[in-house]
């Protein structure tokens, strides 16, 4: 009899079946991974276990007893803890306050901050999860915030720990430490449920792996009985090659030059982008690696003109655009794929055709006398791009809101690339896309490179950056820590040290 068993769990949202009779179990002392693409139903299943969603069908057994979990309160009482992908922390409260939030106190309704601080200290010493209990959460870097989340779960005497994509905020080196901590947990008899879509991590930490696809269980395997290729096949449902075709480079003139660019924070303090300089040549892709939230978003927004530049220059084709409006920059042949496609990249309540002319509806042929819209031209343009970019949509007048994430991204890609930009900024262009769409977007960006365009490619997926970039810049706390040329053997450890903020010269010195 398994420690925790979920039997035939089904969950329907308005129009999608998120979980369809899913069975899942976990034992004490093991790491059982839920593997699947985005939208496969992993998080939904765990939100049901944690009481955040109500299930439509199915039963949950804990220690052989049927349990009803209809709110997180009940889940916590059953010693189930969950670390969400988006942290459930309150930045303006201290670490201790965050951890004891919602817990009863032995002094009635009075807070016991002192005692709690001591307890936290004990737990953090036991598992080597050092963090200052008095610090405000907003002062902590992402990696430490995750520790606070874990401490929060441990403080509640968790038996079952659910980790929803915990490694997405960590550098490869931090991931290793993190896995060591998880092993300590399983040695102590915790049952750990690990949600991920990263095959190498899954292979390194799991005891068992359950693959989900489209809300169904494809299979549950022991780690020893499988390999990454087999898992990838199960995840996607078809064979897919993960390699990219990249013809060799030729250096041309500089299309984008960034000189000493700084973006100050509205709240004061350290600049969000701090004295960043780089250039990108014709037919070149500069990849920017780094843990999410280290100034990448502010850098791209500053280049696109969505965030005011505090200092420095941005030259497109030799012309400084640092203080021009976004529209003026577009006219100088800048294309931008923003990370938030639904809020920044698209007007989701507009049709596909309208979204495709968002940047040039004011110009001929899409307007007459720069005032009246030329519907026929707009529709012809939509038909052409829908075919060319293989956007899965019945007709151009369909609302973008009804498209899948991959197809929405194709609409943006079609609009940005069809304008034949000299410089393309791609910010997290493949985030949240399935394997097929990811590959499509990457190929289109490589095609842009082949045609001689310059590309700034920002991603938090290191594998992707290594696959696609000619050179790789690493960002940490708003600064570019170093730029590696792509030709040489990429040293993962070196990049991940840089991602953690260790500068090149320093590491060399300390080694010698």
């Amino acid at each position: 009899m398994p420690f925790l068993e979920m039997k035939n769990i089904s969950k329907r949202f308005v129009d999608v079946v998120a979980n369809d009779r899913v069975c899942f179990d976990v034992e004490r002392g093991e790491v059982h991974t839920l593997l699947g693409e985005n939208g496969a139903g992993k998080t939904t299943l765990m939100n049901i276990l944690y009481g955040l969603y109500s299930r439509d069908e199915g039963e949950i057994y804990l220690d052989g007893k049927l349990v009803i979990i209809s709110s997180p309160y009940e889940a916590i009482k059953l010693h189930i803890g969950m670390i969400h992908q988006h942290f459930m922390l309150i930045p303006n409260l201290s670490v201790t306050e965050n951890i004891i939030l919602g817990l009863p106190s032995s002094r009635g309704f009075l807070l016991e901050l002192k005692k709690a601080e001591e307890n936290i200290d004990n737990i953090s010493r036991k598992y080597e999860l050092r963090v200052d209990p008095k610090a405000l959460v907003r002062q902590l870097p992402v990696g430490l915030r995750q520790r606070v989340e874990i401490l929060k779960a441990l403080y509640r005497k968790t038996d079952i720990l659910i980790l929803d994509e915990p490694t997405s905020v960590l550098t490869p080196l931090e991931v290793e430490t993190f896995f060591k901590i998880i092993r300590r947990f399983t040695e102590d008899g915790l049952a750990v449920i690990f949600i991920s879509h990263k095959l190498n991590e899954v292979m390194s930490i799991s005891d068992r792996i359950t693959v989900l696809r489209g809300g169904n269980v494809v299979g549950t395997l022991k780690k020893h009985d499988t390999d990454p290729n087999k898992l990838a096949g199960m995840m996607v449902g078809k064979e897919i090659t993960l390699s990219l075709d990249k013809p060799c480079e030729k250096k041309g003139k500089r299309l984008l030059e960034v000189r000493g660019l700084s973006v100050n924070s509205e709240k004061g303090g350290k600049p969000l982008v701090n004295n960043v300089s780089f250039d990108i040549h014709e037919a070149e892709i500069l990849g920017v690696a780094g843990v999410d939230g280290n100034g990448q978003g502010e850098l791209t927004d500053a280049i696109a003109g969505l965030q005011p530049v505090s200092k420095g220059q941005i030259l497109i084709n030799g012309m400084d655009v640092a203080h021009l409006s976004p529209r003026k920059r577009i006219e100088r042949k800048l294309g931008y794929i923003p990370s938030d496609r639904q809020r920044v990249g698209l007007v989701v309540d507009f049709s596909v055709a309208q979204n495709l002319v968002l940047k040039d509806f004011r110009d001929t042929p899409f307007s007459k006398q720069r005032f009246f819209l030329n519907r026929r031209q707009i529709n012809t343009n939509a038909e052409r791009l829908i075919k060319e970019f293989d956007i899965k949509v019945s007709h151009g007048n369909e609302k973008v809101a009804f498209l899948s994430g991959g197809n929405q991204q194709k609409v943006i890609l079609a609009r940005e690339i069809s304008g034949k930009p000299d410089v393309l900024i791609a910010m997290q262009a493949t985030r949240g896309l399935d394997v097929g769409s990811t590959k499509y977007v990457q190929e289109r960006i490589l095609e842009h490179r082949e045609k001689g365009g310059a590309t700034l490619f920002i991603s938090t997926e290191l594998d992707e950056i290594i696959a696609i970039s000619d050179r790789i810049a690493v960002m940490y706390e708003g600064e570019i820590i170093g730029i590696l040329s792509g030709g040489q053997e990429i040293d993962l450890e070196r990049i991940s040290l840089m991602m953690a903020g260790v500068r090149e010269q320093k590491t060399k010195k300390s080694v010698s």
Binding site: Y53, Y73, I76, L89, I90, N92, L93, L101, G102, L111
Partner: protein, 312 residues
Amino acid sequence: MWAIVFNASFITDFMAAAIRMATPLTFAGLSCTISERSGVFNIGAEGMMLSGAFVAAVGALFTGSAWIGTGFACIIGALLGLLLAVLSITLGANQIVSGVMINILSLGFTSFLSRIIMGSAITQKLPTFETWGIPFLVKIPVFGEIFFRQSPLSYISYAIAVILTFIFFKTTWGLSIRAAGENPRAVDTAGINVCLVRYICVMFSGIFASLGGAFLSVGVVRYFTENMSAGRGFIGLCIVILGKWHPLGAVLAALIFGAVDALQLRLQAFEVGIPYQFLVMLPYICGFIAISGVVGRAQSPEAVGKPYLKEN
């Protein structure tokens, strides 16, 4: 004119008035502080105050006791708070619109009912509170009478501010309230009922606002007039910002606004050559300055104004 202004009796008189003017504003500020700390804008504080003023007046008129009237005011405040809570928390309606609705509702029903109930009694003075002097302190020359002889409702407002401060920062309830205003989803995942926290806070917000109203009608002028709250509930929204979402900050901010209001009244009396309509605007102009961040910007609770609807 300046000779009069710097006369000692003028200054003591002015200070006494400033403190008196500050009491309803303190209540308004505390009302908005507790609801915003839990994540709900209480634009309806104005209407709750007006309703409180009216119900307190009617209660005092019929029972002959200012205290019982004030008790009734608390009940109407709690009920209007409950209404705002149902609209904005359970139904997820826009908090601003719900609040404005409560204001219009209150203005309508108090104006209508006051003509029916008190039409003939309008000239009759309502029962009021005895002022309380704090023993010994009240004997301090000049200032004793100003600071230590006040309406019991003023003392209650200070007491509430102190109690709220204690609850916010020293108790588990306060932690839940502050957290609900910052990130309700995190509060939910910590196993706390976000809606319950917000309901309680918004109902207390209503009670505080109506206490401010009771002070206006039975506490000071001893009659009720249409729209007698005259925007004081809205100033509560400024006071929260100026007081940086801290109950004691709200008390200080209310004193500042009270002083401006008292000054404005005195300037009217002196006929300084400015049309009185402009002088009446003075507290509101102060409000603009306060919220424009001149006095140092503080962060509002992150989730204030956003309904928290659970997906399931």
